[in-house]
Symmetry: C2
Amino acid sequence: MNFSTSEENYIKAIYHLQHSTELVTTNELAAELQTKAASVTDMLKKLKAKKILNYEPYQGFTLSEEGRKVALGIVRKHRLWEYFLVQNLGFGWDEVHEIAEELEHINSPILIEKLDAYLSFPKFDPHGDPIPDINGKMEVTKQINLIDLELNREAEVSAVGSQSTELLELLRHKNIGIGTVLEVIRKFSFDNSIEIRIKNFPPFSISQQLAQTLFVNPVYGSTIVGSIS
Amino acid sequence: MNFSTSEENYIKAIYHLQHSTELVTTNELAAELQTKAASVTDMLKKLKAKKILNYEPYQGFTLSEEGRKVALGIVRKHRLWEYFLVQNLGFGWDEVHEIAEELEHINSPILIEKLDAYLSFPKFDPHGDPIPDINGKMEVTKQINLIDLELNREAEVSAVGSQSTELLELLRHKNIGIGTVLEVIRKFSFDNSIEIRIKNFPPFSISQQLAQTLFVNPVYGSTIVGSIS
DNA sequence: ATTAAAATTTAGACAAATCTAAATATTTTT
DNA sequence: AAAAATATTTAGATTTGTCTAAATTTTAAT
Ligand SMILES: [Mn+2]
Ligand SMILES: [Mn+2]
Ligand SMILES: [Mn+2]
Ligand SMILES: [Mn+2]
């Protein structure tokens, strides 16, 4: 089965929304795609007819098994192209999302397999998100939100929770990227800001909003103040 | 000004048709795009309104100066992507046209400039066609049609006149590609077939139809039987 | 349990791109 | 120069994707 660019954008958006809330609602999807609820309803009917969706009027919806496979295929294309743009063409990680948003709709399975091989089968995109393989399988990372990282525990930034230009611009300014090793020095309850230190740099503080979009992997064996042995 | 995929396909097709006949006609364009004359007329009005076309009803049409620039931009994208697909991803030169037909519509000037640099600014695509630079300038080759090549004059295949799968499949079977050095041994007036020899291989003959789609550059200083000095 | 608010769907309209069939203009043949 | 053939345009319909406004359903509040 083939899908239009518009259908693909809906399918991918539903896939992403399902990660937070199991059952997706019409308004959520309309907000995500910056369109109107009525347009969403129209597309829901269409996708249900194509057996991509489990959907009953007024009851919310989820992707069918088939729909999930389609979504993973689009995510795979998106993230492989992003990897190519950053690693090969020299784009910054904050410049590639819009372009990948177009490239993900190029329809050529053989192209994607050759691209994947050319890139040596990368497992993560420039934002730390896992790239599904041709069967839809991808690495699961046991990453945690920076908010939940214990004090004085070194951790490596593994992913960011949004691709907005504004966020990526801020991260660039603060010299935080995928792979950055940092630790949390203090947490301030007044505004939930936290003070962090990047390895070999002076500490500085970041807002709660920023901390919430950062995901990290604690570095194995790093010093935990007060821990025994 | 921005253009839809459909508008871009029309603009590029008109550009290509103008190479053979200065003034393009509605039916020619309809045949080229495999659509109906009525659809073409609709689009002609639209493109004229956007000042892309010189067009008066019933009188044929040509691209305006602006239209030519737009066309060259699309051709540039198409050929750069083809070059990438063959040189970097390992596609055969007969497999890339359809994919480039999609990729040429990705809208990101910076992407194309970075791709061009990544490929080291190639001057010709895998079919021997010149790649316009960012200003629309491209190398002009003094290539001639194989039909017009004098006997026993070595020449290098520089371009093919069509990207049809059928043609490229036949060329592959006969081991003819861009860069192949060959000479014409005999011409048969019965069916206008010609006998050629690829360097270091036994001679064989090709049909008139095939010879007409091949363009060659005579090799400088090659032996011309019967020529003086 | 009603009422009010919010979410969702339906109805009807619109723009883009296409098509078929009919009308009109141009070119070619007699 | 008229008739026939061909090319092109117009008229009206269709599909896809979108929108606004109205109707309906669900959820939350009194
Ligand atoms: Mn997209
Ligand atoms: Mn990404
Ligand atoms: Mn195209
Ligand atoms: Mn080409």
